[in-house]
Symmetry: C2
Subunit: 127 residues, 2 copies
């Protein structure tokens, strides 16, 4: 029996959502350089937060995501993404269930500078 290297085993993105059992609880599906690619299911809202030194990419696969900023808003539909730059406060709101892909630095804490009940450790996100 031959052993396949990790790069030889395709990662099915939608199948990765089966690992997601809670809302606002991302799971890491891949690492590329110093970034994690994560999947998450969202419903309701996350507290206002910012990441001082890290950009965060949101890509909606299903449902809709409203990203509120202090001076505006982005409404994301399936197939749309946006990058929240470092330092920019944002308030994610999913009034219906939303499936997203995130790209963010391996060190990024997904609830930003503050620990909240929604905060998940990297170990939980890798599980």
């Amino acid at each position: 029996m031959t052993t396949r290297m990790p790069e030889q085993v395709p990662i099915d993105i939608l199948a990765q959502f089966e690992r997601v059992t809670d809302y606002w609880s991302p799971k890491v599906v891949a690492q590329v350089n110093d970034q994690y690619v994560k999947v998450a299911r969202l419903l309701g809202e996350m507290d206002w937060h910012r990441h001082a030194d890290e950009d965060e990419l949101f890509w909606v696969l299903r449902g809709r995501l409203r990203l509120e900023f202090r001076d505006g808003v982005a409404e994301l539909s399936p197939g749309q993404c946006c990058v929240v730059p470092r330092g920019v406060e944002h308030h994610p709101v999913a009034s219906e269930e939303c499936w997203i892909v995130l790209v963010e630095t391996v060190t990024t804490r997904h609830t930003g500078d503050r620990a909240t009940p929604q905060t998940r450790t990297i170990e939980e996100q890798l599980a």
Copy 2:
């Protein structure tokens, strides 16, 4: 009239493919931290190459992509991705037209260590 910040303007990934006029000629659609997110249309094959210091993520949206390695192969269907680790030689083959998203370091030269007729500058990829 209010000015919307870049993060407030959703990026429609499929619409970005309208910028892609040649095969194997990626276009940058976003930057997140030190990584570019790019879209590309592939048909035929690219020379064997490697990126000494950079991982490269391939995510297939349409068609199929065969990534050949010296010791195996990955066959990617729509919705599947894989990460080619730094240093690993690979040979992308698209026997039918394939639309992909790439995530790679801003410094990555997409044809690897060698300049080939398929090589595109970052300026061309940003255009």
